[in-house]
């Protein structure tokens, strides 16, 4: 099936449209079935994916607006493949574990549309199509936060929308400028990213364009100091919203850096290593400290999620195969782990309708299964060896060590601080005697929750022990991208940086 990508993008959308007809009572089963089929389709994509080929596969190209250079252009490579699978998996698991009771049908339909936009962003190879899905993804999320969220939901959803919208409009101007430069050089209008890769831009252009794209992506990641929308969004969003937001939507930003900024502006990217690394390290350490100060369990997870996004950013700007490959892997692990953690917080919130840690204590004796799974996910978040979190974090730090040992050490403190606040959460909530009467009668995980969490635990352990099947295709595409960047770079600094990285890479 050569057009599997179109099927992947439009299947959930069509299912969403048809979902309006499905009866309210059956909407949930409908949603889960559709999401499962979508997940199986994405697995099919993986099995028919040629891991030896580092380039774009399953390419589809239909001119949409030829006069303006917009084409319906999709493709997938090792970098995007697993993010797509992760997105479909997390949608499925999120739907399975969903505890919302009111307006379930609206939620299912919204989630299916959201799934379309998520898959669309990661398979789009045309900047306008990318932008289209990117912007469209805001709308379902706005509705999810605004309709099912906490007391401040309207404020949180509007802040989320406007923040991201503003950043991406600046990015749009950047895109239009690249298209203009491309038109000037070739006489043809094109928004195809692969065409844009071929552009060798002067350094000052690269810097300005890098800044424009940076605004769009950094707000989405969210980089310090643009992260202020995220705690609100997470704090107010329903569990399913937080799961999708943390697992997939944030990855759009980091994916954007890998797909656009690095290959299109290699010289500017190399020049920006230090500023971005500094921001990332501030993000890692500062938000980790903020996380420690939180009393609300969900806010801890939210800030820790921001903190881990800092590690991903650091890896991307290591400019070598370990760093970027590690980042892409870390995107997957962050998606699965933080998604699972948000689901776990949702579990206790459904039972107690509070997320305050001082309300809990001794949960381990009342809810043993819950405590075990929470513990495993927590360890994975901290980056314990043999869990999925370790692989990515280790590779990123290894990669960035070649850039700057000192900054790597600073970033490495994230593991220590992470361990401190995560274990503090665990200690406060799960250990000790059960002090609060309300906690004594809590039910352990029910079948629905168990069966949505077990697959995630299995993945966490499997990819922690044996990451090769995922890491190899990623590494392949990343290396190809680095070779390309090296050829394209015009300044000596950039060439040295990328070359140096390549030579050490062979040791592995």
């Amino acid at each position: 099936m050569d057009n599997i990508l179109s099927v992947l993008v439009f299947f959930p959308a069509i299912a969403g449209l048809l979902g309006f007809v499905v009866d309210k009572e059956s909407a949930r089963a409908y949603g889960i079935t559709v999401a499962a089929i979508e997940f199986l389709l994405s697995l099919w994509l993986w099995f028919s994916f040629d891991t030896a080929n580092a380039g774009m596969q399953f390419v589809e190209l239909i001119p949409l607006i030829p006069d303006f250079g917009v084409t319906y252009y999709l493709g997938v490579d090792g970098i995007s493949l697993f993010i797509i699978i992760m997105a479909t998996l997390m949608t499925l698991i999120g739907m399975m574990s969903m505890s919302i009771t009111e307006n379930v049908k609206n939620m299912i339909v919204t989630l299916l549309f959201l799934e379309m936009t998520m898959v669309g962003v990661f398979v789009a190879l045309d900047a306008i199509i990318f932008y289209l899905f990117w912007e469209l993804s805001l709308v379902p999320m706005l509705y999810i936060i605004g309709a099912w969220g906490g007391p401040l939901r309207v404020y949180a959803s509007i802040k989320f929308f406007l923040y991201t919208f503003t950043g991406s409009l600046i990015m749009l101007v950047g895109m239009l400028f690249v298209a203009y430069v491309y038109h000037n050089l070739t006489g043809v209008w094109s928004f195809a990213i692969t065409d844009w890769y071929a552009l060798v831009l002067p350094v000052n252009y690269q810097l300005w364009l890098f800044a424009a794209f940076f605004l769009g992506f950094a707000i989405k990641v969210p980089m310090f100091p643009f992260h202020t929308w995220l705690p609100y969004a997470h704090g107010q969003a329903p569990t399913i919203g937080s799961v999708i937001l943390a697992a997939v939507l944030l990855k759009m930003g980091t994916y954007g850096f890998v797909r656009f900024s690095l290959p299109m502006f290699p010289d500017a990217s190399v020049m920006m290593i230090t500023p971005i690394a500094v921001l990332s390290i501030i993000m890692v350490i500062y938000t980790a400290m903020v996380a420690y100060a939180q009393k609300d369990m969900k806010q801890v997870i939210a800030y820790s999620s921001v903190s881990h996004m800092g590690i991903i950013m650091l890896g991307i700007f290591a400019m070598n195969a370990e760093g970027i490959g590690g980042s892409v892997f870390q995107m997957l692990s962050h998606g699965i782990v933080s998604g699972a953690l948000f689901m776990l917080v949702g579990v206790i919130y459904d039972r107690r309708h509070t997320k305050m840690m001082d309300e809990f204590g001794g949960l381990a004796s009342v809810m043993p299964k819950y405590a075990v799974i929470f513990g495993i996910m927590l360890m994975a978040a901290v980056g314990l060896p043999l869990t999925i979190g370790f692989v990515g974090e280790f590779l990123v730090l290894l990669g960035f060590y070649q850039v700057s040992p000192i900054m790597t050490v600073l970033a490495g403190t994230s593991i220590i601080i992470g361990a401190i606040y995560m274990l503090a959460v665990y200690k406060k909530s799960f250990f000790g005697p059960v002090t609060n009467e309300a906690n004594k009668t809590l039910k352990d995980l029910d079948a629905k929750e168990t069966w949505s969490l077990i697959p995630l635990v299995l993945i966490v352990v499997w990819l922690g022990v044996y990451p090769k099947p995922v890491l190899a295709p990623i590494d392949h595409s990343v290396k190809a991208m680095l070779t390309f960047m090296d050829e394209k770079a015009i300044t000596h600094g950039a060439k040295d940086m990328i070359k140096e990285a390549k030579s050490t890479k062979e040791v592995k």
């Binding site: 949409l64 607006i65 030829p66 006069d67 303006f68 306008i128 932008y131 289209l132 912007e135 469209l136 805001l138 709308v139 706005l142 509705y143 605004g146 309709a147 939901r153 309207v154 959803s157 509007i158 929308f161 406007l162 919208f165 503003t166 409009l169 600046i170 749009l172 101007v173 239009l176 400028f177 298209a179 203009y180 038109h183």
Partner: protein, 496 residues
């Protein structure tokens, strides 16, 4: 002894007048029908008007590009054809909105429809001439008819709106007349192409700049009134509020298309002559218009006023494209309006179906935000459609206005105005807030009062119009390509 003027009928090329004559004849037929039988139902007049517009559309489509006629005062070039087509299409969407389920005062008069057709003829004269006097005649025909149409909506604030618009319009007309007089004084001609020739020769004379400045400032003021550009925009929200919702939507699109065509002819000429400060003034006005109107829209409590300010802001957006004076910029103007037309008329039509005789939500406003609170529970499809229109106006892809926006921005970038594109981007972000506000009210709040008010006026023809607007809004990605290539071809064929 005066030589008798000898004109052959062929040299008049009367076919160039055909479209306007059809509209005028249509108006006269309606008046005659009323004389014969005054008990005819409005639906007859609506359909007759629609039919006349269809013929008019066909007549325009049949015109050849770049022809002159009627003592060379008529000019059929690419932009006049596409603007006439857009004017007619806009009118065709507007007129079925008269078929509401409730009765309204204005539609019980056949004169409404006759005036409407005369107005269209006026717009068509405006866009098919480069003769300053004929343009003036067109402007006045159309404007006087429009004032009356507003006032026919039998309400106190409709009269207020009509009088306000009339006074402002009279002032604008005076500015226009004085500006044209100065141009005539400078060049001895009122034909724009001759004006351009003479000005090009005289441009280097000392002291002439002050007169050119005077003429262009007067004309700019006149068109800033018509296009509701800052600082001449203050009439717009009140007039839109007073006019009936469909007419307000119509005013935000069709008269502006006509005024833009004239502006392209006049100010494009100035910019082509290398009078750079005209461009700068237009740019400054455009930027101020989009920004200030956006900020004003943020604080509105009434959806109709919000939409009024939003259409001012959109006009500012498009005015910026005019300042670029490139083929792409001019294409952007028409593309933007072609897309904006459906979405904006659709949005106003959604207000129209909720038009109620008594103000039930607020003593001051007809359409406060609270009226639409919880619309998703009352009328789910209506809420989704209105939400789509709002997202489209905010510039969320893939809905129609987004393509207009990026085309304008691309045109700005191509002409080296990257800052302008950034200003436009930031303005779209500000604008997103007030569109979102309505979405928040519709989707995320609980209904305030009894529920029948929001679809009080709904009828099948209205549903059809709104459905058409929705399809045009959602499916824009599929017709953008032919639209752009047609517009671009027509515009470049006429040398803009």
């Amino acid at each position: 002894m005066l030589q008798p003027i000898n004109v052959s009928l062929e040299s008049l090329n009367l076919i160039t007048l055909a479209p306007m004559l059809i509209a005028i004849a249509g108006g006269l037929i309606i008046l005659v029908l009323d004389l014969v039988n005054d008990k005819l139902h409005k639906s007859l007049y609506v359909m007759l008007t629609l039919l006349m517009l269809v013929i008019d559309f066909g007549a325009v489509l049949g015109l050849n590009v770049n022809e002159r006629g009627f003592f060379d005062v008529m000019l059929i070039d690419g932009i006049s054809i596409i603007s006439q087509l857009m004017i007619i299409v806009g009118s065709m969407i507007f007129i079925p909105l008269a078929l509401t389920s409730k009765r309204f005062h204005e539609y019980s008069y056949p004169e409404f429809f006759a005036l409407f057709l005369f107005m269209i003829a006026g717009f068509q004269f405006m866009v098919t001439s480069d003769n300053l006097i004929l343009i003036f005649v067109g402007i006045e025909t159309a404007s006087l008819a429009l004032y009356t149409l507003i006032a026919l909506h039998n309400r106190a604030n409709s009269y207020e709106a009509a009088v306000k618009y009339f006074t402002m319009g009279a002032l604008a007309a005076a500015f226009y007349a004085m500006g044209s007089a100065v141009i005539y004084g400078l060049t001895g001609s009122i034909e724009l192409y001759k004006v351009a020739e003479v000005l090009a020769v005289r441009l280097n004379e000392t002291g002439i700049m002050i007169s050119i400045f005077g003429a262009s400032v007067l004309l700019l003021a006149a068109f800033a009134f018509k296009l509701s550009l800052f600082p001449f925009h203050t009439w717009a929200p009140d007039v839109y509020e007073g006019a009936s919702a469909p007419l307000a939507g119509y005013m935000s699109v069709v008269p502006k298309i006509a005024a833009f065509v004239v502006s392209i002819r006049i100010f494009g000429m100035y910019i082509d002559l290398g009078i750079e400060w005209v461009r700068i003034v237009i740019l400054v006005m455009a930027v101020l218009t989009m920004t200030l109107a956006n900020i004003m829209a943020l604080v509105q409590e009434d959806v109709k006023r919000m939409l009024a300010y939003s259409s001012i802001s959109h006009a500012g957006f498009i005015m910026a494209a005019l300042a670029l004076d490139t083929t792409e910029g001019t294409t952007a103007i028409f593309l933007y309006y072609a897309l904006f037309m459906f979405t904006n008329l659709g949005a106003f039509a959604m207000l129209w179906i909720s038009r109620h005789k008594v103000r039930r939500f607020s003593a001051r406003y007809d359409n406060p935000y609270e009226k639409f609170a919880g619309l998703i529970n009352i009328m789910p499809i209506g809420a989704v459609i209105m939400g789509l229109f709002m997202l489209s106006l905010a510039g969320v892809p893939p809905f129609s206005v987004f393509w207009g926006k990026i085309y304008v921005m691309q045109a700005a970038v191509n002409s080296g105005y990257v800052w302008l594109a950034i200003v436009m981007g930031l303005n779209s972000a500000i604008a997103a807030y007030y569109y979102l506000k309505l979405i928040v009210f519709m989707f995320l709040k609980e209904p305030v009062k009894s529920v029948d008010t929001v679809y009080y006026n709904l009828s099948k023809p209205l549903m059809a119009v709104i459905g058409l607007a929705t399809i045009a809004t959602i499916g824009s990605i599929f017709y953008i390509q032919p639209l752009i290539s047609y517009l671009y071809y027509m515009i470049s064929a006429s040398g803009y």
